[in-house]
């Protein structure tokens, strides 16, 4: 089902397979698992970016400094359920940038959760933040990924 209000024209979209072990005894997908769906969507985007997936060959290093999640509607588990994560960028700073993410279920008309994540460009060798490179800034600052800050409920 299409979202009532698309997050942006062409956000990064990730499809998360919900696992049998994700719901709790109420049959709802457990809230802590949402963080993995958002994380995997970020990793897919990082893999496509010059920053790279942390720990993979040639990655430049980044680390999460903040993750905030608003739960908007429960997700009822069923075998084969796939959730869609849309990811956009609301801010690009000198050493950090902010992602806004929304989670959609095919069983619900609107988003079931939204997430704000601050990523810090980070040198693991020096154990401190590093400035974003120009090509990273260009990737994360691309208008196709831009979303407005006020779309976040996580403040």
């Amino acid at each position: 089902m299409a979202p009532a209000t698309p997050m942006s024209a062409s956000p990064a979209v990730y499809h998360a397979q919900v696992r049998w072990s994700d719901p709790d005894t109420l049959g709802h997908v457990n809230h802590a698992r949402y963080l993995s769906y958002f994380e995997d969507a970020r990793m897919a985007l990082l893999a496509a970016s010059p920053s790279g997936v942390p720990g993979s060959t040639g990655d430049r290093g980044c680390i999460a400094a903040r993750v905030a999640v608003d739960y908007l509607a429960p997700v009822e588990f069923r075998p084969g359920l796939t959730l869609r994560v849309e990811t956009g960028v609301s801010r690009v700073g000198r050493t950090s940038w902010t992602l806004l993410q929304r989670l959609y279920s095919p069983d619900a008309p609107g988003p079931v959760a939204r997430c704000e994540c601050v990523l810090v460009a980070y040198s693991y060798a020096d154990a401190k933040p590093r400035p974003l490179d120009d090509d990273e800034r260009a990737f994360w600052g691309d208008p196709s990924l831009a979303v407005a800050n006020e779309e976040s409920g996580a403040r």
Binding site: Y14, H15, A16, Q17, R19, W20, S21, S36, E39, D40, M43, A44, V53, G55, S56, T57, P79, G80
Partner: protein
Amino acid sequence: MRYTYQCALRWSDLDVFGHVNNARFLTLYEEARVALMFRRAGEQGLTSFEEGVVISRHEVDYLRPVDYATAEHDGARPTVTIEMWVEDIRPSRFVIAYELFDRGQVASRARSVCVPYDLETQRPRRLSDAERAFLLPWQA
């Protein structure tokens, strides 16, 4: 006949060595099992497995590590391919065997003994005729 399932890896499946943690393999195998016994069976009108099946034994052999960054990719996500089949059918249990492939190479083999279980009475039960008929084509 083998059932094939593409299982997406999660970043959180990795341990500090950068490999999918050995314990998570059971979760990946579980996803394949759920897809066959709950989803596929449900599509064929058989929902009794969803009403209760427990595991009485798992065995897993690890042949090579699976790495998130270099795993096979379905275009959107790192994945592994799990092939599974039914190895044995007994009156009140059945055995599922699996092979887990990463980029075409077998990375792990496993086996699960499954027991149909009545959650209300908390007791094992016998396989129904419909369940046996569903499992039979998958028996190697």
